[in-house]
């Protein structure tokens, strides 16, 4: 075992470069939640332990994802539309690998936000999970930041949260996600799908049967609905209540959530 970074600061997270010769890592002065809202340093170290001083960079706050180091150079990551703001829609950013270069807002953040990002492992490509109202989609970016939607979840089920994707050497995009549906009473399970460049894929294979006990239970009713707020903003929600119950006679708990950035 060899110490690559052992200094008077906490290593918080790190990512490999594509040729496995170096690592980009973040440093915090303190290892607590409060530190997430203060400037975060990012540096580069080779596997021989040599720190690349030209690779130093400082984020206004802790980004919302790890950093992806692209094969053709540069980094992509998630952070708020307003990086120094305490609360801001999470969107996609990039920065060159050269010292002192500024960051660039690539996409999202106006009517949607990005939940997570995964490195596809080939040709500098990566994918993001985008949330907009009820809908979730997986967008894929190539080495020149051209984008296509690899998957767009329909309204009758959810793929929020856990997912992963890879680009195989045959050029196919294989993805897995946790899929569930309140509308049709399906508990969360692992599903998979396949697509190709510029093709919209489908989640077609159910790989697991977790929570099968749910089939023996009285289902809950889930109904999506829309309304217009007093300020004219269009809002979406889901109402949940026991089967055979009249929701107008039940107490209501309101759980505000969703995107952008909440």
């Amino acid at each position: 075992m060899k110490a690559l970074v052992n200094i008077s600061a906490h290593v918080d997270s790190f990512s490999w470069n594509p040729d496995s010769s170096a690592i980009v890592y973040r440093l915090l002065d303190h290892r607590d939640l409060e530190s997430q809202d203060f400037p975060v340093k990012e540096q580069i170290v080779s596997i021989s332990g040599k720190v690349d001083e030209l690779g130093n960079f400082t984020y206004a706050r802790m980004p919302a994802s790890h950093t992806i180091w692209r094969k053709l150079g540069g980094f992509v990551f998630l952070q708020g539309v307003e990086p120094s703001a305490f609360c801001s829609s999470t969107c996609l950013w990039s920065r060159p690998s050269s010292a002192g270069a500024s960051t660039t807002h690539l996409a999202y953040g106006a009517t949607n936000d990005v939940s997570s990002i995964v490195d596809l492992g080939l040709h500098s490509q990566f994918a993001v999970q985008v949330a907009e109202g009820f809908l979730t989609k997986f967008d894929v970016y190539d080495e020149e930041n051209r984008v296509f939607t690899a998957f767009d979840a329909p309204l009758d089920y959810s793929v929020e949260g856990e997912w992963d994707m890879t680009l195989t050497s045959q050029g196919t995009y294989v993805f897995v996600a946790v899929r569930s549906s309140g509308v049709s009473g399906q508990p969360e399970n692992i599903w998979s799908g396949v697509t190709e460049l510029n093709q919209l894929g489908k989640i077609s294979k159910k790989l697991s049967s977790h929570n099968s006990w749910y089939e023996l239970k009285t289902p809950l009713i889930y109904k999506p609905f829309n309304w217009t707020g007093v300020d004219g903003v269009e809002l979406e929600g889901v109402i949940t209540y026991p089967e055979h119950a009249d929701p107008r006679s039940l107490p209501v708990f309101v759980y505000p959530h969703g995107g952008p950035s909440s």
């Binding site: 060899k2 690559l4 008077s8 290593v11 596997i47 992963d164 998979s192 790989l207």
Partner: protein
């Protein structure tokens, strides 16, 4: 009239607490397999426990449990050039700090190998195997030992000098077998083979 719904019963709080929650999905580089973690939605016992599962992405209903779920096994990933699964676990100190382990998907629990050799005051926070599969880098945290069964009193943002998290590296091509009981060889085609 008796219907199927009539035979169904309401969901209980215990069922909700014990519902299987899926997390930490990781797909293999070739897209053929996925590993993930299943745990109760809420803590049920004295310590948090979770199990590793795997599935073939092109075969329906292929999911199978890989580890027992007795301990907290989490953060799995598939080695980029072998069928070996790396993961974090508190299996040698339930409820304590985690170590990095690996196992063979075919042999599950019987093939578990400990990769990191840290004492009980040091644990692995996170790790990542290099894209070429030669190295594993990981963050190590320090935890002060308990005194009389209790966690030591720590003043907020003080006494951190000897407790910084560090970034460590293990070269998986070295003869780990001599130290950990695993045998890893590098073939002429630059492929790491775990035996």
């Amino acid at each position: 009239m008796s219907t199927l719904h009539d035979a169904k019963t309401p969901i209980t709080p215990e069922e909700l607490a014990g519902a299987e929650h899926i997390e930490d999905l990781k797909i293999s580089k070739d897209g053929a397999n996925v590993v993930y973690v299943v745990r109760p939605a809420h803590k049920l016992g004295e310590h948090v426990a979770s199990a590793l599962w795997s599935a073939e992405t092109f075969r329906e209903e292929s999911a199978q449990q890989v580890t027992s779920g007795t301990y907290r096994d989490y953060s799995p990933s598939l080695h980029p050039t072998s069928s070996r699964v790396f993961f974090l676990s508190d299996r040698e100190d339930a409820g304590g700090l985690s170590q990095l382990f690996s196992l063979s998907l075919e042999k599950s629990e019987s093939s578990v190998v400990r990769i990191t050799d840290l004492d009980k005051e040091h644990g692995v926070v996170s790790y990542s195997v290099s894209p070429n599969g030669y190295f594993v880098a990981f963050i190590v945290e320090v935890k002060k030992p308990k005194k009389d069964g209790k966690d030591p009193i720590v003043v907020w943002r003080e006494q951190e000098q000897d407790a910084y998290t560090t970034l460590q590296l293990i070269d998986l091509r070295t003869p780990l077998g001599l130290r950990y009981g695993a045998f890893i060889i590098l073939t002429s085609s630059d492929t790491i083979i775990f035996l």
